[in-house]
């Protein structure tokens, strides 16, 4: 088991290095990005302080050395926590991301919890009551949920709430807490705002997971071990949950790590833009539009990191849950 964990972490690290290289190339790629513009502008001014600044920037971003050493320099800085500067916001990338990172994670975790808490019982119900009215209703709803994009739902909901209620739906905090330092009251305020974007963000995922859970469980319920469990005299609830669901849920954990987690973080950029949430998604989109490449590249590497960590956790959870995977 231990060697399995070490091996998996090793693969993840290799993957991370590869992706960070791609991220770096992307940072370097576009002509006319912020840094180039800034340098041209400074050189144009030609005075002493401008020249100093140019030298400083050239040194800092290693513009005079070839690509590979420059990557190594960037990567070393990255590991040290220096991600470069967001030229558009005129702040270190680190600050910009740190501010939004935890809120993004909170939103993602809330969304995932909601997906699982809603989807699994419904999926189990649908499978154990296959072709009944209840199953048909849930199946129809989940197809609609799969078909309607999240940002559209967000827009509709926004319209409804603004038009007919006086709930403060935009953002993750009420106005009085928005710039306040962290406190318990602010945390409660966050929870009050979090559920709605979490719900909207989780609808597509929930609909998909209901379908998958239903299908998996139907397959599992047809397996001989389910019949033999019933033949032992177990209650049908015990057979369903202890034996069938326990087996049917394994593939869902892989989906959780490899699709749900990154999907919710990245895919929610649109929803977050509509609802004006202070998460990484919208900032990433803006950074790309402005060619604010250090911010964009760093965000990209962070997304990958989250994906890799999610995959790793899912694999470890699966190995823990399914003894067949623990095989060396």
């Amino acid at each position: 088991m231990l060697s399995y964990i070490i091996r998996r972490i090793g693969y993840s690290l290799v993957m991370l290095v590869l992706v960070s290289f791609v991220g770096f190339v992307i940072i370097e790629l576009p002509p006319g990005d912020f840094l180039t513009q800034l340098l041209t502008e400074l050189e144009g001014r030609g005075d002493r302080s401008a020249e100093d600044r140019v030298t400083e920037l050239r040194l800092r971003y290693g513009l005079d050395i070839p690509l590979l050493p420059r990557y190594v320099q960037w990567a070393t800085n990255f590991v040290r926590g220096d991600f470069g500067e967001s030229f558009a916001l005129e702040r270190p990338v680190r600050e910009v991301i740190a501010q939004r990172f935890w809120l993004t994670c909170a939103l993602a975790v809330a969304s995932i919890l909601m997906v699982w808490v809603i989807a699994i019982p419904i999926g189990v119900f649908s499978a154990t009551h296959q072709y009944t009215i209840g199953d048909q209703i849930f199946t129809t709803i989940s197809f609609i949920g799969l078909g309607v994009p999240g940002f559209l739902l967000a827009l509709l909901l926004l319209f409804y709430v603004v038009q007919f209620t006086d709930v403060d739906i935009l953002g993750l905090f009420s106005r009085e807490y928005r710039d306040a330092p962290w406190s318990f009251a602010k945390f409660i305020d966050l929870l009050k705002h979090l559920w709605l974007p979490a719900l909207i963000g989780s609808i597509t995922g929930t609909a998909g997971l209901i379908r998958i859970m239903r299908g998996n469980l139907l397959d599992t319920l047809g397996q001989p071990f389910v019949e033999s469990a019933r033949a032992r005299g177990l209650k049908s609830r015990t057979v369903t949950w202890k034996h069938a669901v326990r087996m049917a849920i394994n593939p869902l954990i892989v989906i959780l790590g490899s699709e749900a987690l990154p999907g919710i973080i990245v895919g929610n950029a649109l929803v977050a833009t509509v609802l004006n949430l202070p998460t990484i998604g919208p900032e990433f989109v803006r950074a790309l539009q402005r060619q604010d490449m250090y911010l964009a590249g760093t965000t990209l590497v962070f997304f990958t990191l989250i994906l890799l960590v999610g995959n790793l956790l899912a694999d470890l959870a699966l190995a823990w849950l399914d003894p067949r995977i623990r095989l060396e």
Binding site: P224, E227, S228, H243, D322, P323
Partner: protein, 372 residues
């Protein structure tokens, strides 16, 4: 109630059992009036081709039919022994809802079943010991002892404590011939071979001391040497535990060594039943004879072809009228076999066969028709 008439020697008496399945194309009459008796501590072999209704019969006894299946009519009288008194009463399993407390107590507790696919009959994420322990904690009650232990037992909802269940599980694994049972008790199914898994299934089945063990083709998925070992094991354990066995198979060779009585099934009916010797040495139904002729024998003339039963098992929606075997029967009497339904009548060495050739009334008509 007719139950009173039954012999105390009888464990299960199935009468006129009819099971139908609703499918898209209509109704499949899987069992059309099945009758047989299982005697205490004896083995009944049930033999027949695929689709003859062997497995459906077993599942009907367990009340484990698929959702679209239903017991349309018939009785399954099970002789249930009282806990201490030794009194017994016959209960009709056909009348019990599948999820009732009584059925759940019977399933696994008094009627246990082992299956065709040992490879996938254990839940892959649970150990052998957990499977056995689950059954023990469900069906066995702690012995009523005085003092603390009793208080503990009551506190734990009258369950056998987990540690004791584990001990019983190890004992059972030892009994079914699994080496180093104290290590194997924590093995997962994928760590066991097919034969070992079937042994674990037998251990689960016998852990609660059932009166009837239903074995639905228990050795079909195993290789020949393992088959023989599993069958020997079942015979040994029958000696020790004294349970009756309903042994379902399509293997005539196996049934000869396992069973005292045999029931031959064809398309949802029993066509012949009786003592194993009479069925093998003096078969009365043309179908049984055809089955026996289709076994390859050592010493058969080299190069000769194995006899087969002509034709195919009919589709469940186009079963011939009259005797269901009439379209494949070598001794068919046209105009008679496709018009009448044969009943099980005594024939040969005291066995019973459902064939019009053994129906005196029909045969009298046939002979008189020939004379005119």
């Amino acid at each position: 109630m007719s139950a009173a008439v039954l012999d105390q020697d009888v464990l299960l008496d199935v009468r006129d059992l009819q099971v139908h399945f609703d499918v898209r194309r209509g109704t499949v009459r899987a069992l059309e009036g099945v009758n047989f008796t299982i005697r205490k501590s004896k083995t009944l072999g049930v033999i027949g081709e695929s689709g003859s209704g062997k497995s459906v019969t077993a599942r009907a006894i367990m009340q484990l039919l698929a959702k679209n299946g239903s017991i349309v009519s018939g009785e399954m009288l099970y002789n249930r022994q009282g806990d201490d008194s030794g009194d017994s009463e016959f209960i009709d399993i056909a009348q019990q809802p599948s999820d009732s407390q009584l059925m759940r107590d019977l399933r696994g507790g008094e009627i246990a079943m082992i299956f065709q696919e040992p490879m996938s009959s254990l839940t892959p994420v649970y150990t052998a010991g957990l499977h056995i322990g689950e059954s023990i904690q469900l069906h066995l009650k702690p012995r009523q002892t005085v003092g603390d232990q009793m208080a503990k037992a009551i506190a734990k909802q009258n369950r056998i404590p987990r540690e004791e269940a584990r001990q019983i599980a190890i004992e059972m694994l030892d009994k079914v011939g699994i080496p180093r049972p104290e290590e194997r008790v924590v093995s997962y199914p994928h760590e066991l071979s097919g034969g070992q898994r079937q042994r674990v299934m037998i251990a689960i089945a016998l852990s609660c001391g059932p009166k009837l063990l239903i074995a639905d083709e228990p050795t079909t998925a195993l290789d020949v040497t393992t088959q023989a070992q599993i069958n020997d094991l079942m015979l040994d354990l029958q000696q020790e535990f004294g349970m009756a066995i309903m042994y379902i198979t399509h293997d005539l060779g196996v049934i000869a060594e396992m069973a005292e009585d045999i029931a031959v099934m064809y398309l949802g009916r029993i066509v012949e039943q009786g003592a194993t010797d009479s069925i093998f040495y003096n078969p009365q139904h043309p179908y049984t004879r055809a089955l026996l002729r289709s076994i390859p024998r050592i010493g058969q003339t080299e190069g000769s072809r194995l006899e087969v039963i002509e034709g195919m098992v009919p589709d469940p929606f186009s079963i011939p009228t009259g005797c269901a075997f009439n379209n494949r029967c070598p001794d068919v009497m046209p105009g008679i076999c496709d018009a009448r339904m044969p009943e099980l009548l005594t024939a040969g060495d005291g066995q019973r066969a459902a064939c019009l050739l053994h129906d005196p009334d029909t045969m009298r008509e046939v002979t008189s028709a020939r004379v005119h």
